[in-house]
Symmetry: C2
Subunit: 402 residues, 2 copies
């Protein structure tokens, strides 16, 4: 049996994890494969965008000196599709037909939109009816100048950043590698997929839960296994996994039962905590095995789900040096929740916005630790502070957005 446990606050447990200074190291990957990675250093523009004076409209490019006395006729001396360059010179009252996005001839100072013109009776001429207050030219570097910072260390790669780097012709991007995560469920009661149901046993649903959560939240799943409640085999497997993994997440065996070996195993390492002032999931435990985080979550589905989102997901983001590791907010509770509890109670909930744009949260399904019927409906967690009588409909509550 393990020693009496001292329960710490959720935020204290969270902060202990963030003390880790583990460096994942930098890799260079092709921009097209960088979705959801985090940029490992500032990236600067290798060229200006636009790299030429770019026409904002379809229309006619004319000289600044000719921009007066409309309506009048212009001689059309060239036609400029995008991607082509006008090689001649513009003389008095000459115009070049130009498309949106094309390079404005060097002599031209203004683009008149097509809608302000009409065909002339003369061939090779156009009548410009009126002018604009603006020149309708994006100057060189109006988006970015060469050397401008375009991405910052800690930026997450998404469709927008990938597109941005591609606009500069950048092929590879320096990113932090993704944390390697091993998932392990313990419990002699666990049936694998494909086995027939047996009395007193259950299908293992926590391991697939954690596998998918790791994938969804940008861990690299390097191992997923299931072990019976035998201390020796658990320890052996953990030691071996700690050589490679940045994070080992286990589920089950953290409670006070005679077969809850995970609690003992965690104590054999550099213990961070082995009890948190929260329900569900109070026996959630963590330790360092070298620089590998060993996180032992409860075997109850609700507690396992909450433990992942409150601790593992932010820790993954911390290791990847994301600018924001969790999203907290204040919201309006839509129903009474009046159970008293010494510990903070974490409710699975759904969020919506009312007509004033206020974030509203409604608990979904059961608050029981063992309940697995509401995980998939959960979009946020509501915190009911411990030591109070609960919260009423209309009260402000702290929430974690998932």
């Amino acid at each position: 049996m393990i020693k009496a446990r001292q329960a710490i606050k959720i935020e204290e447990a969270f902060n202990k994890l963030l003390e880790s200074k583990k460096d994942l190291g930098e890799i260079h990957i092709h921009v097209d494969n960088s979705l959801n990675y985090v940029v490992s250093r500032n990236i600067y523009a290798p060229l200006s965008i636009p790299s030429f004076r770019r026409s904002m409209y379809d229309g006619y490019a004319i000289r600044k000196e000719d921009d007066e006395g409309f309506p009048k006729s212009f001689k059309v001396v060239g036609e400029l599709p995008c991607g082509e360059v006008f090689s001649g010179n513009l003389e008095r009252n000459q115009a070049v037909r130009i498309m949106t996005g094309a390079k404005v001839p060097d002599d031209a100072g203004k683009v008149i939109m097509l809608e302000y013109t009409e065909p002339s009776k003369e061939q090779d001429e156009v009548v410009i009816l009126r002018t604009h207050a603006t020149d309708n030219i994006n100057p060189i570097g109006s988006d970015f100048f060469t050397g401008d910072k375009i991405l910052e260390k800690g930026d997450e790669m998404n469709a927008g950043t990938i597109s941005l780097l591609r606009a500069f012709g950048i092929e590879t991007v320096p990113v932090f590698r993704k944390p390697k995560v091993a998932v392990l469920s313990t419990g002699t009661e666990l049936l694998s997929l494909g086995e027939p149901i047996q009395d007193g046993k259950i299908y293992d649903s926590n391991r697939p839960l954690l596998e998918q959560l790791v994938r969804e939240h940008n861990g690299e799943l390097i191992y997923s296994g299931q072990l019976p409640d035998q201390k020796d085999s658990i320890e052996k497997t953990l030691s071996s996994l700690a050589q490679e993994a940045d994070i080992i997440v286990t589920t089950g065996g953290v409670s006070v039962g005679d077969f809850d070996f995970m609690a003992e195993v965690v104590e054999g390492h550099q213990l961070l905590f082995n009890k948190i002032q929260m329900r569900p999931g109070s026996p959630t435990s963590a330790a360092w095995a070298g620089d590998t985080l060993l996180m032992a979550l409860s075997g109850n589905p609700g507690a396992c789900f909450i433990g992942f989102h409150l601790f593992i997901k932010p820790y993954i983001r911390h290791l990847m040096q994301c600018q924001q590791v969790e999203r907290r907010a204040t919201a309006v509770l839509q129903t009474d929740y009046l159970k008293e509890n010494a510990f903070d109670r974490i409710l699975r909930a759904q969020h919506s916005f009312n007509e004033n744009g206020q974030l509203c949260v409604t608990p979904v399904g059961s608050d029981q630790s063992s309940s697995l019927g509401n995980l998939h409906q959960t979009t946020c967690f509501v915190k009911i502070p411990g030591g109070e009588e609960g919260k009423r409909q209309g009260d402000y509550v702290d929430v974690w957005m998932l």
Copy 2:
């Protein structure tokens, strides 16, 4: 040149897309590979969960008749790890040591938690100090009874749903196949990755943008290509792609320029619209090529990004029969935006919550159609209604959450 265009409202364009009744058809896939698919029919529980009376605590299971007169000694006649079954009978003042999650013996009517007991001086005995008001047993089916609906047609597969199906031992799940999407950028000015920069030309950033957006939002990318502004080759490619794709998204060539062939190509099919009352992206056009949606987005990065999120993403979700195809909300604008416009103006913005939980939105970067520096920072779009003077700081605005 094409006919004069009639501009319709954003919402009208959106609704025209949703009129499609195209049936993607159902496939059966392994649960573990079902992340982000949408369930194609209701799914019912093949067994009850729990399938046995499950202990909520580590402690001792006793008969209902013996639940009185504490403290008193009980003879411990068995020890029940999870997954094992007690095969004997419980007699008067006999108890079985039981773990959280284990099957409660049929004779037992209550579980006393370990903390309410102390060891006895007698071997094989335990002293139970006090009792609980509750029996601490999850009855059979307290999560789900056999035949209960566990997932609904239109539910999206996530870590929670995968875990839920695995808890029932379910191996495959019926889902709608993902829409097949082809992406095509047009423009003679476009450089491919790896080519040296050339005067008047630009690196193609819209095609990688659309590729990643399609992947992120659950389309199956079946083709991605780049074509010069030549009507014949564009038409030929589109006809061939329409045989296989559910959606063809093009970027570029929808404006009024002489080389904007996409506008003409779209008119050659069953036209849905070729102008929308919005900026950027007013020339956004759509047509049916058979039952394939042909959606021609502007070649400007901002317009292309907005067009995807306002039309393609909801259409993908509509085809997959998701319960919700877009997320609209009301929010509080954090800065003045006072440009007047005949059309609705869509601003790229970031959202946050204030201390009252109110959704607050702040435009990011330039509102110019051609600007590509803020796509990656955008978490929502703000609608500034056309025909008004704009919106002021503190005003309520309509937003699309991305």
